[in-house]
Symmetry: C2
Subunit: 189 residues, 2 copies
DNA sequence: TTGACAAGTGGAGATGACCTCCATATTTTC
DNA sequence: GAAAATATGGAGGTCATCTCCACTTGTCAA
């Protein structure tokens, strides 16, 4: 699956360039105002090149998403290594909200693009899911968190938070969801 | 906003017909394999008629969603009238999961179609939000639920549940989310 | 270096979905 | 029952998407 044949130097350069430009345009929230062909021109490549690297808008989104996930996973590992399990989990979830808040356009664009191909999202976020699962499992081992609730439920809640980015009081409600989840996790059976 | 001028009899009939057919196709999950023009033919009307009633796929989704919301709100009122507040809230949320589970294709299609125009979703689900807010408020009055968490957070969690309908263990995780929310809502000591 | 082959590029143009438009048909009104 | 108002349907224009291939660029062995 990750058996990517080594790309030729210029191809790799173009690919990176496209992803970088995509992240930029996503974050600005301008992606849907743009013809896909025009995005190619904006990135300085021909349409053929764009389509060879990313056959669809969704494929491009997936690549960007991959980068996001990798960064978040690094953060999860760092927290897990430096804090008690329960605090690490809480810090991670709170930080996730901060992150989404700071990149509203990106979050919104990714959510929109992956809405129909949610399978792709699940695919891309497998690593993130693993990170969350690890954080929860560690907290369970510490006895800080109940063991009868699947970590997948936390993923779902996060999903809801990032998918609902247009609600008027998004930030406050997102924080409340995290509060509910954390308090709900703490409560013994 | 709801100041709809009375539609001519045949127009009303066609409109209802389109919504009914849409619900059917949504639920079967076949909507995205269909050209919008072909959907018109499938429903037995011309493309012009389809476009006059519903200028976009999203507009059609919104109409279907409206019906769903109305049914759910009725259920909320019924529960609220017949059960203690906390139980009504729990029953409503659990029932919501049942409902989504029973209409997977519909939920998925609606979620996809409204992903970009989430504003429209918020618009259409105002009534649903009000119902949830009422249920929560009643439970707060009973002292069964904390008062420092906004009902919007519950909406967000529900949003996550319906948006994540492709997860392998969806049903179990959805139930867990509800558990977390309900337990989280009970006053922390 | 150089030649030769592999790999990648870009953009013109085919394709096909979306939506508009209006001559015709149906309801409603008086 | 005739005129006015309202709604219909589908032919065809428009425009974003994606394919295709003649050409350029990179790689590698000698």
């Amino acid at each position: 699956m990750t058996a990517d044949k080594p790309l030729r130097a210029d191809a790799q350069r173009n690919r990176d360039l496209l992803i970088a430009k995509a992240r930029e345009v996503f974050d600005a929230g301008d992606f849907f105002d743009l013809r896909f062909d025009d995005f190619a021109r904006l990135a300085g490549v021909g349409t053929g090149t764009l389509y060879r690297h990313f056959p669809t808008r969704e494929a491009l989104a997936e690549a960007v998403y991959h980068g996001e996930v990798a960064a978040l996973c690094d953060r999860a590992r760092l927290l897990q290594a430096t804090l008690p399990a329960a605090e690490a989990l809480a810090a991670f979830l709170r930080g996730m909200v901060d992150h989404i808040d700071a990149h509203e356009g990106l979050a919104r664009t990714l959510a929109t693009l992956m809405a129909d191909r949610a399978g792709a999202l699940a695919e891309g976020s497998r690593a993130l899911e693993q990170a969350v699962t690890d954080l929860v499992a560690a907290a369970v081992r510490d006895g800080a968190v109940r063991d009868d609730v699947d970590a997948g439920a936390v993923m779902m809640a996060l999903h809801g938070i990032s998918a609902a980015h247009d609600r008027p009081c998004w930030r406050a409600e997102a924080d409340d969801v995290i509060t509910l989840v954390l308090d709900g996790l703490r409560r013994p059976l």
